[in-house]
Amino acid sequence: MTAATKPIEIPVPTGVKLPIFLDNHSTTAVDPRVVETMIPFFTEHYGNAASRNHVFGWTAEAAVENARGQIAALLGGDAKEIVLTSGATESNNLAIKGAASFLKKQGNHIITVETEHKSVLDTCKRLQREGFEITYLRPAKDGLVTPEQVVEAMTDKTILVSIMVANNEIGVVQPIEAIGAAVKARNPKALFHTDAVQAFGKVPFDVEKAKVDLAAVSAHKLYGPKGIGALWVRRKPRVRIDPIIDGGGHERGMRSGTLPVPLIVGFGKAAALAMDEMAAETLRVRALRDRLYRGITSRLTETYVNGSLECRLPGNLNISFAFVEGESLLMALKDIAVSSGSACTSASLEPSYVLRALGVGDELAHTSIRFGIGRFNTEAEVDYVIELVARSVERLRSLSPLWEMHQDGIDLNSIQWTPH
C-alpha cells in the first residue's frame, strides 16, 4: 500500500469546531437574535392572532402584522401582500396551482425552467397530467436563461411564467428583472411567479423592479425557523389565485389555518436582520467563497465550476472534481456538511438533474460537490476545508483508475465502457 491511500488526518486548528456546516442552501442555523425574539411568543404571548376579543389575540396579531411588514420590506412590497405559509414548497404549490386554477379559462400554458426546484417542477408535472401544457426551458451551459428565450416560448395561451431568482444547487442568479420586463411587455395578463427562496436576503431582489406577481420565500434559508414561509401576492394590480387549503379564510382567503405566531415573529426578525446586514454580509461571505475557490483550484487540477461564477449567490460554490466520485469524497469529508450531485447520494441513482440540464456530462455530474457558505462560517473553517478537500481528492485520485488513465494520456471517451 502506498502512503497516499492512508486516511487523511489534519490537525484541527484552534477556534474550529467539528463538524463544520457548509450546507447553507439546504437550511441555516437560526440566528440567536431570532430565537430571542421568538421565545416570549411561546410562553407569554401565546394568543391566537385571529382572536379579536381579548388582549392575547391583539398582542399576537400586532406581532404578526409587524413581521409581515419586515418580510415585505425585504421584498420591496407591502405587508398586506404577504400570505404566510408553511414554507416555500407550499408557497410554490399555492402560486402555481392557485394561478392555474384561477386562470384556466384564460389559457392553459405555463412556462418554467428545467433547473427549477422540485416543488415547482413536480407541481407543473401534476398540472400537465390535468391537461395544462408546460414548456420547460433549457438554460445555457452557465445555467442562465435569457428574456428572449422566455418571450419566444410565450403564446396567447400562456397564463403563468415561473422562473427562480437563484438556483439551490449551482447558485446561479437569473436576470430576473430583464425577464420580468420581457414577460410583461409580451403579455401583461400573463402572471410572473418566482421562487425567490435562495435569493431572499442574499442578493438584491425587489418585486417591483422584477415586475413579479408572485414570489415564494421561506425563513429557514435565512437564519430563521423551519416551518414558516410566505407567498408575496401582488395587490396593485390585484393578482387573484385560488387557495389550495380551505378553512377559516385566513390570509385573505388564500391560506387558511391558525398562524404559528412564534415562527412568524422569527421570520420577521430574520428578514429585518438581513435588511440591515445583507450588504456587509454579502462581502464577507463572498470573500470566504472566493477564498475557498482559489484555495481548491490552486491546489488541484481538473476541477470544474458548475454554472456561471459571475452571476452567482455569494456563498455558493458547486464544483466537480474530475475522476473522484462525489459520495466517496463526502465520506472523506465526514466532518464537513456539504452535498453532492452524485447519483449515489440519492435513492434514484441518477445524477443531479440540474447539472444534466446544463449539459454537464454524467461522468462530471457524479463528481460534483456543493459548498454553501453562510453567516456563521469563518476563515479558519474555510482554510481547514481547503486542506481537507485537496488532500482527500489527491488520495481518492490515487485510488481512481480514471485518474491514472488520464495521467497516462488515455482518452476516456475512446474506451468501450460497460454501463450497468
Binding site: 481512481s400 483508475p401 480514471l402
Partner: protein, 130 residues
Amino acid sequence: MAYSDKVIDHYENPRNVGTFKTETDIDAGEVGTGLVGAPACGDVMRLEIRVVDGTIADARFKTFGCGSAIASSSLATEMIKGMTLDQAAQIKNTQIVEELNLPPVKIHCSVLAEDAIKAAIEDYKKKRSK
C-alpha cells in the same frame, strides 16, 4: 445513510491498491485485467490478478466510485488471493454484500466487483489461449 464499520475500514485502509504495470518484476503474461462499469454511471473498477501455477498469487485494484464500491473491490482482492481461477469465478456478489453489510441501494457495487473478478479471469484466459 450510515456506513458499516467494514465499509469504512476498507475505504480508509484499502487493500491491494495499484497496478502490476508499474511493478517491473512481474511478467505481463501472468496478469489478467478486468475493467468494468462506466464513468457516466458513477463507478468504474479495475481489478488485476496475477496468476502463478493456476492460482491467483496476488491482486490489485483501483476504483472510481462511492465508498461501498471502493470497499467491494478492496474486499474482492482479498477474497480471491490464493484461490484457483475456478474458485474465484464462483464468487457471488451476495458474499460481498454479506461481508460488508451493504444496504439494498449499494448492491450494484457488489455486482460490479463480481463482474470485475470474472472479467479479469476472462482476460487472463484470453491472453493464455493466444
